[in-house]
Amino acid sequence: MRVSKGVSGLIQEVCSGSVNSFRSAGRLMSVAEDSFERTIEILCALEGKKKARIVLGITGAPGSGKSLLTGRLVSEFRARYPERMVGIIAVDPSSPFSGGAILGDRVRMMEHANDPKVFIRSLATHGQVGGVTEGTRAIVAIMGALGCDVVLVETVGVGQMEFAVRDVADAVAIILAPGQGDTIQFLKAGLMEIGDLFVVNKSDHPDAAQFHAQLVHSLYSHYSEIRPVLQTSARDNTGIGNFVDVIEGMHAKNFEQWKALRQERLRGAIKKAVLFHAEKRLKSAFSELVVSEVLSGRSSVSKAADELIYSIP
């Protein structure tokens, strides 16, 4: 039984839970990554289908232990709800030179490769900044339709300014490790503002307790809303149960709000896609002659814009 070639056939196979549903899901994810247009087409087609209960973003600097921690979370969720599926999206960077990528997050999760209730997909950034890609949103939806209860979105290793994961996840966990800066780093704008919870990983490290205390102090003194600061050691497999408890607590408290947020983001994505297409058409209709017209004073910017818009059939 071969998988379908068209989007609607693939969607049907994903939702049917047939023997081929994983193959079809894998294929559909590639289609979703193909173009912005396809991403939106798939998102809209999946609107009425099953959705993931929790979409958690996992982000942090390279080497903080995100992949191993993600693998541990999968084990914990699978142990708690043996009948439910877990999806993982792991993003790694593309080369700015060759366009290629090494997607190596899976290495830390191979224990789950043969679990029929785990679906792992690796993605390359393909030149997009922000830590996740445009196709990610559709891939989250495909995992939901496949039956995933929880989807974990692990970003590329990020610095201070990549927080696009916030646009695809219900909540974002920021993973830190001892040695990653002092209280001034915690005070800075950007990444530290978007975390719904913080995790100090590598808590087996001797400096972890002090790092944790500094982080708690900084967050409590600069932000009015109290956000959890957890401690884990992915290596020693400690603190994982508590991590999942906190995520479940957030879901119980915020799921209505998350639902509204998802709807709002879907609308935002459609808007962005429509504008992207409109801009593409405008660009293809644009002629360099217009520049000379404006430069010589024969036309104005706004008049040239009017003419450009009306020149599109």
């Binding site: 060759s98 990528a101 191979m110 490769a113 690796s122 390359a124 393909h126």
Partner: protein
């Protein structure tokens, strides 16, 4: 196959080692080679089982799998990968083997359906040329 006008996404390629063999120099070298030639390489690491490789290939929707061997177990393990791919309706995924493989075994591997075998000493240039040619033929078929 790719009918939209936007830039084509890189080809997805799974690189891994099956069986009990900890020698990663070769597999990492080829992963890097593919990366530098514009592939998205999914690296699954060491000591994978054939089933792990096949499940990974399906979820990652790769066009091809590269298996690297030094252990001497290439015949039985590759056979298992090929059988599982067929069972899961995924035998349109190309399989390449490489590493320490005696010349006499190359024909046996190809007989199992392996696209090409790169033994030690094969140059980067030849590897990329052959892989690209095989993948080109494959995408022509699915047109």
């Amino acid at each position: 196959m790719n009918t939209n006008t936007e830039k084509k996404k890189p080809t997805r390629f799974l690189m891994g080692k099956v069986g009990l063999d900890g020698h990663t120099r070769g597999v990492k070298d080829i992963a890097r080679l593919l990366r530098d030639n514009g592939f998205d390489v999914i690296y699954s690491g060491l000591r994978n089982s054939p089933l792990q490789i096949v499940n990974t290939a399906i979820q990652e929707d790769v066009s091809a799998i590269g298996l690297s061997f030094l252990s001497g177990a290439h015949l039985s393990l590759t056979k298992e990968v090929m059988v599982l791919l067929k069972e899961k309706f995924a035998d349109d995924i190309l399989v390449f083997c490489g590493g320490t493989i005696p010349p006499g075994d190359i024909i046996l591997l190809k007989g199992m359906g392996v696209a090409e075998v790169f033994s030690t000493g094969t140059s980067h240039k030849v590897i990329i040329e052959k892989i690209t040619a095989f993948l080109g033929e494959k995408s022509d078929e699915s047109e």
